[in-house]
Every structure is written in structure tokens, then in C-alpha cells.
Amino acid sequence: MNCYRFETLISDYLDNNISHSMKGEVEKHLGECPNCRAKLEDMKQILHSLHRLPKLQTSANFNEKLMEEIEHRKSKKKFIFKQFVYKYSQPLSTAAAVIILLFGVYYIYNSIFPNMPNQKISTSEIQNNILNPTQLSQPANNSINNLQKKPQYVKAENDDSSETNKDQRNNFENKIKMVNKEK
């Protein structure tokens, strides 16, 4: 062990935070090195002084000031809450009334005008429709019968090319026939 190594271990040695073998090495070095011995004694005195440093004390009214501040903050919180309620009560209640009204209207509207279910049409129905448009199946829902019946196939509003549509239909019919033949 050299003096540099001893310096790195001096605190551990003083705090008794050192292994038995290392302690032996340190003490052996101390026996051989007067400088390190002096350094150790000096350090002991410094630590002793640090432990005995006179302590500051808080003011006599420290507790009183602390509790006053706590009470002040508590009352401030209540005050802020009251201010908030007072300031925003009217707009908040108006907003709440509007929301309730909207929900009410939405509920009433849904009761009077429930949504129509989507009609799923099978392939066979499409085929039938193409061959016999008048035989298209009607939805079973009785409530729909109360409404004005809408045609299943609506001619496009801007469709001026009726000849083109007829050709397309014929082509499609031919394709269906071919598929049926293959089956």
C-alpha cells in the first residue's frame, strides 16, 4: 500500500467501513508512514469538530407562523372555490340546461323517426330482379309499409345515356346465363 492508496481508503477506515484484510494493510502502512499517521489524526479532529458544530435553531414563533400559513391557505382554497362557483354558476347552469335540452330533443326525435334497417339483397334476388323486376322481394318490416314505397332501382338523375344502360344490362344478362349454364 502506498500513500495515494491510503488516501482513497482513509474515510472507509475512519467509518469502520472496510474489510478486515484491508484494515490490516492500512494499519501496516500507518505503522510505516508518519505523514499518513499525521493525516489520519488531523482528519479525526476535523470529523470530531464537524459532529460538534453548534446547531442553528428556528425562531421561537416558527410553529405559530407555520400554522397561520396553513390556516390562511385553507381559507384561501375555500374562498377560491366560492368565487369560482359564484362567477361561473350562471353560465354553467345555462350550459347544463342546453345540454339537457339537446339530449331531450335527440331522444324524442329517435322515438318518432327510428332508423330504417339496411335491406340486404342476395344474388338470386338480383338475378330475379334483372329478369323480372316486378318480382323483387319486399321488406318484411311492417312499419315500412306505412311509409311511401321507394323503387329499389332508381334511375340516375343525370343519366341521359339510356341506350348505353340497355347494352350494359344485356351484357350482364348474358354473363348470368353463361354462369348458370356452367353450373
Binding site: I46, L50, Q57, S59
Partner: protein, 196 residues
Amino acid sequence: MITNNINNNKKYSDEELIFQFQKGNEHAYLELVNRYKDRLLNFIFGYVHSKESAEDIVQDTFLKLYTSADMYKEIAKFSTWIFTIAANLAKTELRKLKRRKIFSITDMGFDDKDYEIPSESNVPENSINSKYQMKYILKAIYKLDEPFKTALILRDIQELSYEEVSNIVDISIGTVKSRINRGRLKLQKILKNENK
């Protein structure tokens, strides 16, 4: 069970007191204040070097304890928790001071008015004669760089364990030991130079 009369003979641990306060017992809170106010004052004085500022920060620490007591869990010791709060508040205050660049002569240096030191005649005769006067030891501590100063104050003045220091400063125990050792050696060097 802690009653409202806190002057009974049984000494409750800090953790028992904080749990009682969490349940609403304000006397438990006051007991904790009495136990830690002076210790925290001396600890924070090491940061701000002004008794008045240090006392304000201690007040803030206890206010934070009052409002945030529910945040304490039994993972760490109560002393670690409260010292950590105090250290964070002290560092925040130091940053504010640096930004404002407001330093009074009292804050910059050591002032006897802020720190009462017993005169030589008051020191008991059977105490070990130290060749270093208290005043110079304090001055030397404040000349240390911040990481070493904090470690030294917590370990050698506040007498906290290595583990507690490690938790408060949020560094490994190995780093704590290294800082303490280097801090002590630097302190020794400063005192030697002062004595020349």
C-alpha cells in the same frame, strides 16, 4: 394509538407519526415539525447561507408535507423523504437567486450574525481540543464544491447513513462514499491553507 395529548411517554417513530397524520391527526404533524425543524434548518443553511432564507424554505418544506402527506409511502424512511423535499426546495431557491443575481453580502460570505457560534470560553474543558475553530471549519465547508458540500453536510453534520444520503441526493452509495472521501480531503486541504 396516538392520542391528542402528544406529551405521553411513548416515543413514536417518524413513520408511525406520518401515518397518523395521514389519518387526520394534526398533533402527529406538529410532532414531526418539532423533530425536524432545526435539523432541516441547519441542512438548508448549508445551501443558502442565510438563516432567514433557510427558515423560509423549512416553512415551505413543512407546508408541502401538510398538503402532500398522502404521497408518502413506506418505501423510504420518512427522514429521507423530508430531506429530499427540503433539498429540492433549496436548489430551486438557489436557481432563482442565480437568475435574479441578487446576492447580499450576508449571502455571499459568512456572517457571524447569521450563525451563532459559542465563544472559546464556552467550550467545555473535557472536550477534545480542536486546532480548528468552528468559524473556519464552516467557512471551509462553504468553499467546497456543491456535490462534496452536500454529501459532507448530510453525512458528517446531519449524521445520516450512507444509504439515506444516497436516496436524498439520488446517487449510488459508491458515489456517496467517493464524494465524502474527496470532500473530507478537500476540507482538510482548505483548513491547512487557512492555518498557514
